[in-house]
């Protein structure tokens, strides 16, 4: 066993808060980082501030690992992980967790799949047993695959096909990316979900659900040495597998704007989606883009809110985000129009505001705002044991750097006004963007004021 101790836990309360300069209190997470012989990385944070434990197992597999013809499979597989293993029946996992008063879920994105639970601290053995059993011995029947295929198809209908603008986001991904890894949605297509077989499940499990392709994070009220012993007992005997094949996520910047129109029978108001292709997460430019996003559309003081919602009254809302991937991410802006307003006008104002951040440095208060907002959001995010477990797993899988939980804020604090201007110039170029315009497709609605007919 190889032990890499980044910071040995010496205190009872690992979640130490110490005073520092400028009245800003830094928040540090002390962690123990160990690798078992079978390659499973184990990260522990002992914290006795509440009688709970949160366990997260993050597998280094997401929709980017899917192959053509099997979109949506990584997520469908996530559902399979609740369908039974050698010593746990179909659905027994979540039933047992909820019956202790705990909570759990599993989530899939492009980059990773995670499984997590928070339970009263006396149920540590239970959660370790459940996670280990399915990592060792997943056992899925055709009937259970068919059942969850239907559930996932309903999930798709719920989130995409039966919601206004549901298709617009998928269209944007298809437009923005060239590599298959990122070009398709996590939920996948109905046809591909239908095509998935039991052999696919077995193959996927063998390839990706190995201890050497996973990170276990445990945060909460336990003694580190005792918890480690239990983890070795439950997980130690699970055999290592050959490393999964690498994923190709290289993308070139766009050389010309890409544009599409989606006709949406469920929408009533037009919507404009713009995305610029940017950089992988945890890079200096990524953090500068986060600050830039805050200036443009973060909160009611933001430039786009003030201009589009208040001053010009063209849109009902404007929002956006910078997504974080190991491959190139995106800088997204979304605006939903008011009745009778033109998409061209909204686009023109967004373009004006982008030219302004490219031309002039942002104001001091805007930089302060972005950093303060980031700081408070991050502190809030790591307050709970579960979100700490999830973030540690993500940082370990994405960047091989769980200590990022302690250094990430410093990277945002290092961003300067010049950085913000530079990344605006570098990435927010008209040629480097994809635009999706959603137009309501008028259905035969009854005319207003009268009783209608179908």
């Amino acid at each position: 066993m190889r032990i890499r101790t980044l910071r040995l836990v010496a205190t009872i309360l690992s979640f130490a808060v110490t005073a520092a300069a400028q009245g800003s209190k830094p928040v540090r997470v002390a962690l123990t980082d160990v690798r078992l012989d079978n390659g499973l990385r184990v990260i522990l944070v002992e914290d006795h501030s509440a009688p709970v434990v949160s366990l997260c197992v993050t597998y280094n597999v997401g929709s980017r690992n899917e192959r053509p013809g099997r979109t949506g499979f990584a997520h469908l597989f996530e559902h399979m992980m609740f369908q039974g293993s050698e010593n746990v029946g179909k659905g027994e996992h979540f039933l047992l967790i909820f019956n202790t008063g705990g909570t759990m879920n599993g989530t899939t994105n492009e980059e990773r799949t995670n499984y997590f639970q928070t339970v009263p601290a006396n149920q540590l053995d239970l959660v370790l047993f459940l996670e280990a059993d399915r990592m060792r011995s997943l056992d899925v029947s055709q009937q259970n695959l068919d059942n969850q295929r239907q559930v996932v198809q309903e999930e798709r209908r719920l989130g995409v096909d039966n919601q206004p603008y549901g298709r617009s986001r998928e269209k944007m991904q298809e437009l923005l990316y060239d590599s298959f890894a990122y070009k398709h949605s996590v939920i996948g297509s109905m046809e591909d979900l239908n095509a998935a077989t039991l052999d696919d499940v077995r193959e996927f499990f063998r390839t990706y659900y190995a201890p050497n392709n996973a990170v276990l994070t445990l945060v909460g009220a336990f003694k580190t040495e005792e918890a480690l012993a239990k983890i070795r007992k439950y997980f130690g005997g699970i055999p290592r597998q050959p490393d999964p094949p690498p994923v190709e996520v290289t993308e070139s910047e766009l050389t010309a704007e890409r544009r599409a129109t989606v006709e949406d029978p469920l929408a009533r108001l037009p919507r404009l989606d713009i995305a610029y292709k940017t950089v992988p997460g945890n890079t200096p430019d990524f953090y500068a883009l986060q600050v830039l996003a805050n200036v443009l559309h973060g909160g009611q003081s933001s430039r786009l809110y003030q201009k589009l919602v208040r001053e010009k009254e063209l849109v009902t809302s404007v929002s956006g985000f910078v997504d974080e991937k190991r491959g190139p991410g995106g800088f997204y802006i979304t605006a939903t129009l008011r009745p009778g307003k033109s998409v061209e006008d909204v686009e023109a104002i967004i373009a004006e505001e982008i030219e302004r951040v490219q031309r002039e440095p942002i104001a001091d208060w805007e930089l302060t705002k972005a950093k303060k907002t980031a700081r408070r959001a991050f502190i809030a995010a790591i307050a709970g044991s579960l979100s700490r477990a999830i973030l540690l797993g993500q940082y370990a899988v994405y960047y091989n750097d769980p200590q990022l939980i302690n250094t990430r804020l410093d990277r945002i604090m290092a961003v300067t006004k010049e950085d913000v201007q530079r990344v605006a110039q570098r990435y927010l170029r008209p040629k480097n963007r994809a635009v999706v315009v959603t137009i309501p497709k008028a259905m035969a609605l009854p005319t207003s004021g009268q009783e209608g007919k179908l």
């Binding site: 808060v17 800003s24 209190k25 501030s49 509440a50 009688p51 559902h79 039974g84 010593n87 179909k90 027994e92 039933l95 019956n99 202790t100 008063g101 759990m104 879920n105 599993g106 989530t107 994105n109 492009e110 009263p120 601290a121 006396n122 053995d125 239970l126 047993f129 309903e154 999930e155 209908r157 096909d161 039966n162 206004p164 939920i187 469920l266 108001l269 600050v291 805050n294 973060g298 009611q300 009902t316 997504d323 974080e324 009745p339 208060w365 302060t368 303060k372 907002t373 700081r375 408070r376 959001a377 502190i379 979100s387 999830i390 990430r408 207003s448 009783e451 209608g452 007919k453 179908l454």
Partner: protein, 496 residues
Amino acid sequence: MMRTRTQILSLWAICVLFCSWGRAQGPGGPQLPGPSVKGVVIKGKAPIARDILRVRLPRPREAKLRNGLEVILLEDHRTPTFSMHMVVLSGGLADPPDQRGLAQFTATLLREGTKRRTSRQIAEQLDTLGATLSATSDFSSLTSVVSISGLVEDLDDVLDLFADIIRNPTFPPEEVERYKTRMLAQLQLQRTIPQLLAQERLNRALYGEHPAGWTIPPADSLRRLTSEALARFHATHYRPNNAFLAVVGDVTLTELLPKIERFFGDWEPAEPPRVTIPSAVPPSERRVYLVHRPGSVQTVVQLGVLGITRTDPDYFALLVANRILGGGPTGRLFLNLREDKGYTYGAYSTFTSSKFRGAWSAGAEVRTEVTEGAMREFFFELQRLREELVPTEELENAKRALVGRFALSLENPQELLQNIITQRIYNLPADYWDTYPQKVSAVTARDVQRVAQKYLDLTRVQIVAVGDAQRIRDILAQYGPLEILDAEGRPISALN
């Protein structure tokens, strides 16, 4: 605000259960659910701690200013942050009948200008402090709640802003006009969301003209909104002796109290307003409402009855009964409609309670093709809860889950504070939350059946479906007198 979700969880992650987020026997112990639980297989080999972790809930500190404002503090020193909630004891139930939504509009517009700050200045100061403000009320709420949270290093600045917004709003006419046009556009958006349309129709079916019958602001009420009406509501209800301040965070009462005194000490009390609570009258017969939403590929189904008030002696029996029926992924609805039938991503039941009778409802989104099967299973499960005693293991699991949750709430001080707020609003006994586990544990299988029979009256249940009327109307018509409406709530007289 910077999109924090992108830092925390990838924005496009999708989940096995619900994305908005979310035994007891070791080997040799009694085994779990028998044949009554569908969709799961229990092997019973996992090691489970038998004991329920009993926890001690932290006590809040309390104080009162001379003007009547009560202050409640729950200390939490784990992170250098705080949140505070000004709970004004007047909500939508205080709306004038000709202006439904006034409490909600008032709360929302507090931040659009004060005697000292413009809307834009408020937005800039809030965002520069990294603070988050929210102000909410709804059509049938007992309260209006203004909440703010931030870093303790900025406590004074945030309090200054918070007090200004609560005490000195001016509701500038041009801001009121802006709000009205923006909200009228947003109503268009809301009427495209099938879940919201279902909720609206169910509330109307259950409550009629009672304030709880409203869900989406009526457009005419918005159009008639004036700065004067907002100022009047504010002056009448936002008073220190008609409110209390609940705080949680990295601060002590000794530090906090002088600051509260400084910012709220000279807030003038007034004659406390009288708000009458109208009682809700149960519907007299079963009715079916179908909201036609062209292009739908799913049917959103909701079934509801009137339930109980918050202080009803049936509260704990209903809490356990709901947990068993559909209060989460271990509920019968989820296991039957999802894990066994594959009809839906999730089927749940839920209940509300207030000073008037709340609603007990069950629902799911199902693909159009299985609307009939889903309706059958909903009725099957409602009937089963009425007719059969809940098996012991299933009952014990539900109770264990409800009590076990307290351990988790200890790392969520917001939830603890919410419990304290609930206790005050309903005048619940001081030891209410301490004795909660015993009250849950005392519920029997007969109690569950009794409340099921008392409230889940299938001859009076209200049924709502939102979907493609052409394809599902005949199915729904089998369940009672059917009314077909459009998304605006207008009746559709004929289907071709």
